[in-house]
C-alpha cells in the first residue's frame, strides 16, 4: 500500500455569481514511504491547491473538493475536521513558501516549535521547549538556546525556514509537504535548505512531496516527478527519465528554457510561447495546445488521455516529442 494515494482529486472554486474555476482537475499520483515526489509546473497550474487540499487547509467556503486522498488507506477528505486536525502536524507536516510571513511575529520561535509537540505528543511546556532546542539544533540553527526566546524578525531568512522545517518535522511525520520552500530565499541559502531537507528526509525516512516551479530543485531531490499543466498531470516519470527524455512538449519546453552554463555566450534562451492564460478548457482539447509546437488536429478534439509510457511513466499527449530529440 502506498503511503499516500491521491485519486482523481479535483478542486473547483466557485464564488457566488462567478463561473466555477477548476484549479485541480482529476489529479492522481501516489507517494511511497520514504519517497520524494515532485509536483512541478508554472504558477496557477494547481500545485499549491493540490497540497492544501491534501492537508484540508482550503477555505471552508467557495470551493468543492472531490476524489480521494488515501493516507495509509484512510480517505483524508472523508475525515471529520477534528480527526484531520489530529493528523495535521503529526502524520503530515508542511513547509510554506515565505518563512517570514509563515511564522507568527509576536510569538517566540521556541514556543512556535514547542506548541506542536505539546499538541501531538502531550508534552508539557518545559519538556517541549527542551525538545524544541534539540530540533533547532538538528536543523542547523546555531546557538539554539538563545533562539528559543527570540522572535522571527530577529533571525535571518534562512534560519526562519530552518525553524519552519523544525516545526514541520517535530512530530516525525511520515509525510512532509514542501510548497516552494526555497522560492523566497537567496540562491546560496536555497542550496543549504535543499541539502538540509534531503539529509533530514534520508535520516528520518519521511516521504516528501516537493512542490516547485524550479526544475533545479527537482533535479537534485525527487525520485519521481509529476508535471502539472492547467490543473492536470501531463507527464509523470522517474527523475532521470524526465530530464533525459522529456516526452511532453510542455516538459520539453520547460527544460529547454533552463539556461545552461555550457551554452555559447549570447545565445538566446528557448522560451515557451504565450502564457498560462493562453489555454483552452480541457474538455475541448489539450489545454497546452495554443502554446504547443507539436499540435495536431486530435489536440483540439477532447482531453488527451493519460497513458502509460514504455519507460514506466505516464504521458498525456497526442504527439509527444520523439525520444530521440535531446534537450538542447
Amino acid at each position: 500500500m502506498s503511503l499516500l494515494d491521491v485519486r482523481d482529486l479535483s478542486v473547483v472554486f466557485q464564488r457566488r455569481g462567478e463561473r466555477p474555476f477548476t484549479a485541480v482537475d482529476k489529479v492522481s499520483f501516489s507517494v511511497e514511504p520514504g519517497q520524494t515526489v515532485g509536483l512541478v509546473g508554472e504558477s496557477g497550474c494547481g500545485k499549491s491547491v493540490t497540497s492544501l487540499a491534501i492537508m484540508g487547509l482550503l477555505p471552508k467556503r467557495g470551493n468543492r473538493v472531490s476524489g480521494e486522498v488515501l493516507f495509509e488507506g484512510a480517505d483524508l477528505l472523508k475525515l471529520r475536521p477534528d480527526d484531520m486536525r489530529d493528523r495535521r502536524g503529526r502524520d503530515i507536516g508542511m513547509i510554506f513558501q515565505d518563512p517570514l510571513s509563515s511564522l507568527n511575529p509576536v510569538v517566540p520561535i521556541g514556543l512556535q516549535v514547542a506548541e506542536v509537540l505539546e499538541r501531538h505528543r502531550g508534552m508539557n511546556r518545559k519538556a517541549a521547549l527542551k525538545e524544541a532546542r534539540e530540533l533547532l539544533d538538528a536543523v542547523g540553527i546555531p546557538d539554539p538556546m538563545r533562539r528559543l526566546k527570540e522572535y522571527p524578525h530577529q533571525i535571518s531568512g534562512g534560519m526562519r525556514q530552518r525553524a519552519l522545517i523544525a516545526i514541520a518535522l517535530a512530530c516525525k511525520p511520515r509525510l512532509l509537504i514542501a510548497d516552494e520552500p526555497t522560492t523566497a530565499l537567496d540562491v546560496t541559502i536555497q542550496a543549504q535548505i535543499l541539502t538540509l531537507l534531503k539529509q533530514l528526509v534520508d535520516e528520518t525516512g519521511t516521504a516528501l512531496i516537493m512542490i516547485t516551479h524550479d526544475l533545479g530543485v527537482v533535479a537534485g531531490l525527487c525520485d519521481t516527478v509529476n508535471v502539472l499543466y492547467g490543473g492536470k498531470v501531463v507527464e509523470r516519470a522517474a527523475r532521470h527519465e524526465l530530464f533525459g527524455r522529456p516526452r511532453h512538449p510542455y516538459t520539453h519546453g520547460l527544460l529547454s528554457s533552463v539556461p545552461r552554463l555550457d551554452s555559447p555566450r549570447g545565445e538566446r534562451l528557448h522560451a515557451i510561447p504565450g502564457s498560462v492564460a493562453d489555454n483552452i478548457p480541457w474538455v475541448e482539447g489539450c489545454a497546452f495546445a495554443p502554446r504547443c509546437g507539436n499540435v495536431v488536429d486530435a489536440c483540439l478534439e477532447g482531453t488527451p488521455p493519460l497513458e502509460p509510457t514504455a519507460t514506466g511513466g505516464d504521458l498525456r499527449c497526442n504527439n509527444p516529442v520523439s525520444e530521440e530529440v535531446a534537450v538542447p
Binding site: M55, L57, M84, N104, V106
Partner: protein, 335 residues
C-alpha cells in the same frame, strides 16, 4: 524602556503647561464671567470693581497666570468661585463617580466588543457579520442623550428593571472609603451596597459604552479579517493546533494590536460622552461638574483644573497603551 517613559513624561509636562496657558487665556476671553454671575446684571460699577480687585482679575493676564501656576505647582488650584470650596475637594468628590462609570463602560465595551468583532470576522459575509455592521453603525450614529433617555424611559418607566438616576439608592447607609461605591462595598463587606451601586451603574455605563463598543467591534472585526489571511494562521492550522490556541495565540494576539490603540483613544474620549450621560442619569460626576461650572458663571478655577485633569487622563492612558503595545508586540521593543 525607561528612557521612553521618561521622554514621554517630559512631553506630558510640556503639553500640560502649554494647555494650561491656552485654557487660562481662553476662559477669560469668554463672554460673561464670575463677576456677572455673582453680582447679577444690575450691580453698581463700584461693587463690580471691588469684586474684580478681590478676585485679582484687574491684574495683567500674564501676572494672573504666573500666580496661578505658582500655586498649581504646590498642588493648590484655588477655590471654587461658585461654592468657595477648594477646587481639589470639589473635583475629588466628583472624580470617583466618573471614573467608576468610565471603567464599567470600558469593561462593557471591551468585554462585548472584542468577542463580537471576532465572531463577526469568523462569520464574514454571513448574517452575524451583517448584523454587527448594522448594529455598530447604529451605535456610532445614535446620539448619546437620545439613547440615554430612550433606555431610561424603557427600563425605568415601562419596565422597572433599573433605577432611573443617581449612584446609589437613597436610604442605603453605605460607608464611604474611597468614593468608588462598588469598591467601598467590597472593602467594608457591605455587599448590598456594591450590588446596589452596580445596579445603578448598568444603564448609564451601557449608554456611555455604546460608541466605544461600536468602534471596538468594527476595529476588531477588520483586524481579525486581516489576520485570518496571514500565512502564520495557515501554519498554525497546518500544525493541527486546537482552535483555542489558534484563536488566542495566533489570531487575537496579532489582531488586538490596533484594537489596543483604539481602546486608548476611546477611553480618553469617554469624558465628552460622560458629560451627556451624567446629565441624563443625574450622575454627580465630572461631567455634571463641567456643565455646572460653565453655566454657573464660569467657575474659572474649577474649569481650569478639570480641563487639565481631562488632558492628563488622556495622555496617561495613551502612554499606558503605548507601553502595553511594546509588551504585546516584540517588534516595537527593538526600536
Amino acid at each position: 524602556m525607561l528612557r521612553v517613559i521618561v521622554r514621554r513624561l517630559l512631553q506630558l509636562a510640556v503639553t500640560l503647561i502649554a494647555l494650561s496657558a491656552l485654557i487660562f487665556v481662553w476662559l477669560r476671553n469668554l463672554p460673561g464671567g464670575p463677576v456677572e454671575a455673582l453680582l447679577g446684571e444690575r450691580a453698581t460699577p463700584e461693587r463690580r470693581a471691588l469684586l474684580i480687585k478681590a478676585l485679582g482679575y484687574d491684574q495683567p493676564i500674564l501676572v494672573q497666570y504666573a500666580k496661578f501656576m505658582q500655586r498649581v505647582v504646590t498642588g493648590d488650584f484655588g477655590n471654587s468661585i461658585r461654592t468657595g470650596d477648594p477646587v481639589s475637594e470639589v473635583i475629588g468628590r466628583a472624580f470617583p463617580a466618573t471614573i467608576e462609570l468610565a471603567v464599567v463602560a470600558m469593561i462593557i465595551a471591551i468585554g462585548l466588543g472584542v468577542p463580537l468583532g471576532y465572531l463577526a470576522a469568523r462569520h464574514h459575509g454571513r448574517l452575524l457579520d451583517n448584523l454587527s455592521i448594522a448594529g455598530t453603525l447604529l451605535g456610532i450614529s445614535i446620539p448619546i442623550f437620545f439613547l440615554g433617555y430612550l433606555l431610561k424611559d424603557v427600563f425605568t418607566q415601562n419596565i422597572h428593571w433599573f433605577p432611573p438616576s443617581g449612584r446609589i439608592s437613597t436610604g442605603l447607609d453605605n460607608t464611604n472609603v474611597t468614593g468608588f461605591f462598588v469598591l467601598d462595598g467590597l472593602l467594608t463587606r457591605e455587599f448590598d451596597a456594591t450590588a446596589d451601586a452596580l445596579w445603578h451603574l448598568i444603564l448609564p455605563a451601557f449608554t456611555l459604552a455604546t460608541i466605544p463598543l461600536a468602534v471596538i467591534v468594527r476595529i476588531t472585526r477588520a483586524s481579525v479579517l486581516d489576520v485570518l489571511n496571514e500565512d502564520y494562521v495557515r501554519t498554525a492550522e497546518a500544525k493541527g493546533l486546537r482552535h483555542r490556541v489558534i484563536r488566542g495565540r495566533h489570531i487575537l494576539r496579532n489582531a488586538l494590536l490596533p484594537v489596543v490603540t483604539t481602546i486608548g483613544l476611546q477611553t480618553g474620549a469617554l469624558l465628552s460622552g460622560a458629560v451627556l450621560t451624567e446629565k441624563v442619569y443625574n450622575w454627580g460626576g465630572l461631567g455634571t461638574l463641567i456643565t455646572d461650572s460653565i453655566s454657573g458663571g464660569r467657575d474659572y478655577p474649577v474649569l481650569q483644573a478639570l480641563i487639565l485633569l481631562a488632558a492628563l487622563v488622556f495622555v496617561v492612558v495613551n502612554l499606558l497603551v503605548d507601553l502595553s503595545y511594546a509588551f504585546i508586540d516584540p517588534r516595537v521593543r527593538v526600536r
